[in-house]
């Protein structure tokens, strides 16, 4: 078993999940609650990783994070071919799933409940933290699990932007590729089992979260 790949995959997925939570939730609330100019354009950009070839996405990321990019020139952040680049690539491919699920969850909260909170003295922030997000939490968590599962399985863009350096940037999906190429099928089988089990467990959780938390007559028309 390639333990360094396991550790690296967990590290990359954990960091990607934190990014997904904050960025995805903010975008989910924005799209679920507000309409603004340029919204469709922004949504399409966020959803592009779902349909773009991974190599194209990886190349985009190389342009965005590589030499000559603002990230390097202004912030002196050189992350290409390091594990943080893999985390960024993973977060970007998981983002559409997180945004989609949290947007739907936020939009499904009955606006009358939010109005009730306003008349009870809540500011817009309080309405969000005390009513909207607690009621949308199942969808948000489901989106986070889906996004993280997708991040864990990320291959193509990671290969382009972080490389496939054993012990440094080689995550589980890349290690599976290497093992199959080198005909180390026993090792590949174990990693296959780990990745498939994690994906299965994630989707099982998502299915459980899709059950309604409250009965239909719970004070909501």
């Amino acid at each position: 078993m390639n333990w360094s790949a396991v550790q690296l995959s967990l590290q990359v997925t954990a960091v990607a999940t934190v990014m997904l939570f904050f960025v995805g939730l903010a975008l989910g609330v924005l799209f679920g609650r507000y309409k603004f100019r340029g919204q469709i354009f922004l949504e399409i950009i966020i959803f592009l990783p779902l349909v773009l070839p991974p190599s194209v996405l990886g190349y985009f990321l190389l342009l965005a994070l590589g030499r000559g990019s603002p990230v390097v020139e202004w912030f002196q952040l050189q992350i290409v071919f390091t594990w943080p680049a893999a985390a960024v690539a993973s977060a970007i491919v998981g983002l559409p799933l997180m945004v989609q699920a949290s947007r739907a969850a936020v939009a499904s909260v009955d606006p009358v409940l939010e109005n009730a909170a306003r008349t009870l003295g809540s500011s817009e922030w309080e309405v969000l933290w005390r009513v909207t997000l607690p009621l949308a939490r199942r969808g948000v968590v489901a989106g986070l699990i889906l996004g993280s599962a997708r991040a864990l399985g990320e291959f193509g863009a990671t290969l382009m932007v972080a490389g496939n350096i054993p012990g440094r940037t080689q995550t589980l999906p890349l290690a599976v590729y290497d093992a199959v190429q080198a005909r180390r099928y026993d090792e590949a089988n174990v990693m296959l089992l780990v990745l498939t089990s994690l994906a299965f467990a994630g989707l099982w959780c998502v299915r459980r979260l899709e059950q309604p938390a409250y009965r239909r007559d719970a004070g909501r028309p």
Binding site: L113, N115, T119, G121, S123, V131, A213, Y214, A218, G219
Partner: protein
């Protein structure tokens, strides 16, 4: 101490008609009566600050809630600062909170929130059910929690939008009696919206008949019944026209 009077005088363009409301409400239950789509809920929403009128003046005891100015600029107090209690038609209880937590919602920054919320639930005959979630309560119990929740913030005005329309007759009667008692004890200013004539006559100290965005007549219910101002009021009251 006499309750400050609520002055409502505003205009708002709606898809089907122009809503034009002029009313003054004191420490009483004023029933806004009319068919569905007459603009009753919109009127409550304008008082609560949940919808913004195009022009006019809404104030409580001289304190402006909304005031339109020149050049389209308007003063508009946000709903959270109006201290207007609102009881919604579908209860609108927070499904993720227990009855007690719903009632204590507005008090979360205050000391003694729990005991005040418990006191209110007891007053609404719900002390035994404080730990239940809304879906574990009957319709009547849910609406009692909603009233307790609205009262928790010591509102200056209580707005009620078809509050008991989904309840059966006996439950409705009990809640009417409780509401009238509560109004007298607290000297509350209540605006009660309904399209049910029996409800209107059961609780209203005064009755405002509304049709297509206009107040057609305001008065003591019996006076309105005896002296309808025009054929629209006659029709609203279901009285057949002579001739």
């Amino acid at each position: 101490m006499e309750a400050p009077s609520l002055k409502i005088d505003f205009e708002k363009r709606l898809a089907t008609f122009n809503l034009r409301v002029r009313l003054e409400v004191g420490a009483e239950i004023l029933v806004l009566f009319g068919p569905s789509g007459a603009g009753k809920t919109q009127t409550l929403n304008a008082v609560a600050g949940l919808t913004t009128p195009d022009s006019g003046d809404i104030s409580l005891g001289g304190e402006p809630f909304f005031r339109s100015g020149n050049n389209g600029h308007a003063f508009n107090l946000p709903p959270r600062k109006r201290r207007v209690g609102y009881v919604f038609q579908q209860y609108a209880l927070f499904p993720h909170l227990t009855a007690l937590e719903n009632v204590a919602y507005a008090l979360w920054r205050q000391a003694g929130a729990r005991s005040r919320a418990e006191g209110l639930l007891e007053r609404m005959h719900l002390a035994q059910l404080s730990n239940r979630y809304p879906h574990e309560l009957s319709g009547g119990q849910q609406q009692r929690v909603a009233i307790a929740r609205a009262l928790a913030m010591k509102p200056r005005v209580l707005l009620m939008d078809e509050p008991f329309s989904a309840l059966d007759g006996p439950t409705r009667q009990r809640l009417h009696q409780d509401l009238m008692k509560l109004q007298q004890e607290e000297r509350l200013t209540v605006v009660y919206v309904t399209h049910n004539l029996a409800d209107a006559f059961a609780v209203g100290h005064r009755l405002a008949i509304m049709r297509e965005g206009r107040i057609e007549q305001v008065g003591v219910p019996e006076d309105v019944r005896r002296n309808p101002a025009n054929p629209l009021v006659l029709a609203a009251l279901g009285i057949p026209q002579k001739d």
